[in-house]
């Protein structure tokens, strides 16, 4: 067996650090995506409830755990931010359909991110295995050198 090359160990360690950093970035993105999906689903639930409630009063949170009684004057008028500082008026159903499309897009992105993360994870495991092997080999080499002295 060839002796352990410190350059190989160093290079593997660098790859391991890079992959770990990449995985952290992608995990954060995945978290943002999942939060977006949860938020959109909650909004859909709210829109459905408002459509059913009609003009019945609701509690509007104003922060600090406080709520005030409010009546939705036009429950079928929803103002949707579509990005670039633009807001479009939609019907309740139109807004739900808009959110459902966004959810589909976010789910597709989340799926891609999960696949990338799985690939990185597999690569990290391979590198860790190789590094472990090299460390063990280096230890044996050191012990062998020690017993010769």
């Amino acid at each position: 067996m060839a002796p352990v090359d410190p350059r190989e160990v160093q290079s593997l360690q660098n790859y391991l650090n890079q992959y770990t950093q990449q995985a952290e970035v992608y995990s954060r993105q995945l978290g943002i995506m999942e939060e977006g999906i949860r938020e959109a689903n909650a909004s859909i639930e709210t829109l459905n409830a408002l459509a059913d409630a009609g003009e019945a009063p609701v509690f509007m949170p104003i922060g600090g755990g406080l709520n005030i009684r409010a009546t939705i004057v036009q429950p079928d008028e929803v103002f949707v931010s579509i990005g670039s500082d633009i807001i479009v008026q939609k019907t309740n159903n139109g807004a739900i359909s808009y959110l459902q499309d966004r959810i589909k897009e976010m789910e597709a992105s989340a799926k891609n991110l999960t696949e990338v993360l799985q690939k990185i994870d597999a690569q990290v495991k391979d590198i860790q295995k190789r590094l472990e092997l090299l460390y063990r080999q280096a230890q044996t080499e050191q012990q062998g050198a020690g017993s010769l002295q």
Binding site: F79, I82, G83, S84, D85, I86, V88, Q89, Y98
Partner: protein, 120 residues
């Protein structure tokens, strides 16, 4: 490290500065690309929206109702401006990359040139 001449050390410092510049440029480019992407999606959404739907736009600190066609024109103009900026950044990026590679090769050959006689 003691064998590195002040000239090479200076070149290495320049390489590090260039790397930092490159990172700044790339992050600016990615910001512009994201804004352009968001604007493109907004135009797409506006095109899918009924002509009779009310469209509002942020103007300073207020949100005003505007005709759909006017909003589309403004966002399209914004996209064009962003694309020009992105192209200009790409030119800077290319120039900086070329300079970096040239200097990197110089440093490499100077370090290798120094090492060769020692090995012999």
């Amino acid at each position: 490290m003691q064998n590195i001449s002040p000239k090479v050390q200076n070149q290495i410092n320049m390489l590090q500065q260039m790397q930092q510049q490159m990172q700044t440029i790339l992050s600016q480019k990615s910001q512009y690309e994201m804004t352009a992407q968001e604007a493109r999606k907004a135009v797409e959404e506006l095109n899918d929206t009924d002509d009779s739907a009310a469209v509002y736009m942020s103007v300073g600190t207020v949100v005003m109702q505007k005709p759909k066609a006017e909003v589309i024109a403004k966002v399209t103009e914004k996209i064009e401006t962003l694309e020009i900026r992105i192209r200009s950044i790409e030119k800077q990026e290319k120039m900086l990359q070329e300079k970096f590679e040239k200097l990197q090769n110089q440093v490499r050959s100077e370090i290798e040139g120094r090492k060769a006689p020692e090995a012999a």
